[in-house]
Amino acid sequence: MLKNIIQGIGIREVLESAIREFHETGPINMATLEKLSLIKIHYPEVFNEYEAKILSVMGLFYKIAEPKSFIESVYKNLGDTIEEQFGKPFTPMQASAYKSIVSNRFYSFSAPTSTGKSHLFRDLITEEQHDIVIIVPSRALIAEFYSLVVDLVGKEVLVLQFVENINQHHTARRIFIITPERGVELFKYADEFEVGLFLFDEAQLSEEPIRGISFDAFVRRSEKLFPKAKKVFAHPFVSNPEAQLSKHSFLENSGSNSFKQNNVGKVYLSRNEDGELEYFSPFNDSAHVKCEIDIVESTLKNDGTALIYISKSKILNGGHIEGFGKYIALCPILENPPAIKMVDELTKYIGASEGQFGKQSSFLTLMERGVVVHHGSMPLKARLLIEQFVRDGYAKICFATATLNQGINMPFDCVWIDNFHMMKELTLKNLIGRAGRTTQTPNQFDFGYTIINKANVTTFRSRIISSIELDPTSKLDDDSKDIPDDYSDLITAIKTDTFNDDLHLTDSQVDRLKESNLKSDVRFVLDKLIDGDKAIGGHQYYEIKPSIRKKLKETLKKIYITHLKRDSLTVQEQTILSASIPLLLWRVQGKAFSETLSLRHSYLTRRDERRALLKKLKQKSISQEEYNKAFDEIKIQYSARAESLPNKNARAINLFRRGAPVKEFDYDLLVYDTYDYLDKVINLSLSDPLCAALTIYYQETEDVRAKILRNFIRYGTNNEIEIWLLKYGFDPEDTEWIGLYIQHIDEQGIIFIDNLNDLSEDQLRIIERYIY
């Protein structure tokens, strides 16, 4: 089959029968789309004769220009009819889903990547009259939705990435974009909010072992407390979306659809170790056909883009630069001012510097050429900036791990799957879904390339054709045998509805904190860390006697451990916890991310030792040769790589090679690891139990210092205005300067001072949503 098509044999017949097939069944057959793409690649002129007809029968009305054949007229009329009926230029899939959502209270559907789900959501969001809650699996997706939503609605609509009842004076309705974990906050406001729509995007989250339980629990509670609201579940590739409804007995007034139509064609290539490419079809046994050109190279040269799916460890050890240098070299240094501005912003955020020792960032150097790196340890703010950079069209190559796949909707001309390890079917389908950018260009059939390693062809084949099914029973109703010990509290609490929404812990964990009599421990911490109504500064901290500092750390660890079911941590867990305590304290002192990085950089690269050595050289007490030798012997400090806690399997691996000299210091690794500490260890592991212990202590003693420290841990500040600003959704890095322009702020709204003249355009843009 492949060979014939590539040799041009019988291609008109293929084109004609594809038109007939699509007319009858829609563009659901991936094999047909593959053939069409191959013809377009090899015989673009022949393909062009049929292109408009093909797009017509695919239902891509927005691509049909003036009809030139009878069938194009028919589909033009069908498209116009849909547009007239729905008031929007929907594709058939969008129209069908929209109709079902309007007429049902529960609706669950699935549709492949790049078929316009977000367009549909856009319409739902603008039309809804009441509050909306959008549930997504990751913070990156929250951010993506956020930027979509704020552009859609006016200032009278409050859009937040967490649940707060603020800006009440100006708010007509609210849109919350949250993860199910953040969702518990919502139920506190069951009497105040009038939710009209719950939109569960990427709802296959329900299948994940732990998070799936939180997700399903959220779904059930949302129905119990907001029974009038519509509930819509969306998935990328699921054959039985109805399971999402039946498992909660959402049967009446419900509908579901599994849409299989694709808007983009794909071709598949395998690559052997010598880099030779061959076309293959995952849908039949056609012999492979050699591809004479380097597709990635030609894509990049033709101003196209490539996604390279790669393991995080390969990125961390520079494998992406070594293995793909040839392609990186094809990307010229960017000259576009907005792109350069983004690179500069990121440079500033992470405090990277070309001139300073050990502060060169390789991902920034790559970004200057339009080559980006994207993975879960990339600081969220950096990740968002990089995603924007890609969406704005500045990125030519994107090296990404599974994090990108968690629903960030960025298509590329070419997707190269270098890492096939632990490849799940859904991940694979999502990846392939990214291949081929959907354009609005009239009369243009879009397609993309998927490249895999030759060794993976068989596995690839079996996974691409297998269907993905949701479990028809909820994990809430399952026996929880496979749940790791450390999660059993949470699971029991969710199942028995004994989660403390205020303290963000389970009732059992709160009881442990209460019963363990931590009063003297908490008081000790407060005595040392809080001075009046402020947290002590860095200098004061280092003035504390080392033995007391050690005790302080031990006490914080003890408070943390108390909430757990077990009474001790593994050595590795303790190592990670110890490493996180200075970062926690820096946070309490309100350090910015770049400052935190700088402090760790000094410590890990033994700045004092380096300086002392330099001083000796300058004073000529040692020769240059002696200096060089001594410098080479300075080793990077040991530091355990961050991992979430509790985790009995944590390994506490050294961030750098054991005994590595400081001149091998890798700034990118520092950035990633520091972010992981702040995010995975402090925010997600330490913050809740420590804050709960402080709240309990405050309730028992009325010692306001406990509230102050809690604010520092939770918000990084005790400044009331800054805390309000955080609740209004401003970035922690911006609250300080915004605070200077606030006349008054509370749950009713923000009153800015009259004179905002000295603010820059960028600054004004940041606060603009709340200026009325």
Binding site: R20, H23, G59, S69, V74, N77
Partner: protein, 234 residues
């Protein structure tokens, strides 16, 4: 549609050894607009959008009016565009099958469900019928708004025979025809139908041209040839 003329000719008039017959009929179409409308309805009914339940029929019909007017005007005024040609070919094919059924008692075979074939341009024969004598008739339809199309239809039939398209299609046809027709076809006993549009006024002359066309020569070895001329008058 009205029958304008009907003639039967023995093939032996043109080739001594031939035993088959040539049937020539000319049809006049007087309900063009209705036919265009019908085809647009058929297009919706056979499309994947129909079961999705997103098309408001009344709305579609209203939207289609422009297309109906355009195609009708073009055909009546002998203006040839891609759109009118697409429709014209469908129309000629449909009229031919209806005529074969009405005047020769053929059975229409669902194999080449018209719309699906015509909208895409079909790489094989346009339509198939079975005659009361248990012969499968392979049909080809050609339309032109500006010139008579009999030559193109007959030429195409010859090319398809040469490419063995009829033999290739046979496995699909078997499912729809009688056992006797299968046997006949296996023995090489077949019929062909050439349906074509007529644009000039002198219908009789055109039918005669078709009968004496050089492309007829090779067809005289078969059991029957149906020449169906289609003229549009309203």
């Amino acid at each position: 549609m009205n029958l304008i003329s009907y003639t039967e000719t023995n093939m032996s008039d043109y080739a001594h050894t031939a035993t088959g017959k040539i049937f020539s009929i000319a049809i006049d179409i007087t309900d063009l607009e209705l036919r265009v409308k019908e085809m647009l309805t058929v297009a919706l009914d056979t499309s994947w959008l129909q079961p999705m339940d997103v098309i408001d029929r009344m709305g579609y019909e209203a939207r289609s009016k422009r297309t109906v007017d355009k195609v009708t005007n073009e055909i009546l005024n002998n203006v040839e565009t891609d759109i009118s040609e697409d429709f014209g070919e469908y129309m000629v094919s449909d009229v031919a099958q209806t005529a074969l059924k009405k005047h020769f008692y053929h059975i229409r075979l669902p194999l080449a469900e018209l719309i699906k074939e015509k909208i895409s341009g079909n790489p094989g024969f346009d339509f198939h019928t079975e005659s009361p004598e248990a012969l499968v008739a392979f049909g080809e339809a050609k339309y032109s708004g500006v010139k008579n199309a009999h030559g193109r239809a007959l030429k195409q039939i010859n090319e398809f025979i040469q490419d063995k398209k009829d033999i290739q299609e046979f496995p699909d046809i078997r499912r729809f025809v009688t056992e006797a027709a299968i046997q006949n076809a296996a023995a090489g006993k077949k019929a062909y139908s050439a349906a074509f549009s007529i644009t000039t006024g002198d219908v009789a002359a055109i039918m005669d041209n078709a009968l004496t066309s050089i492309h007829m020569k090779t067809l005289l070895t078969y059991e029957a040839v149906y020449l169906i001329g289609v003229k549009v008058s309203a």
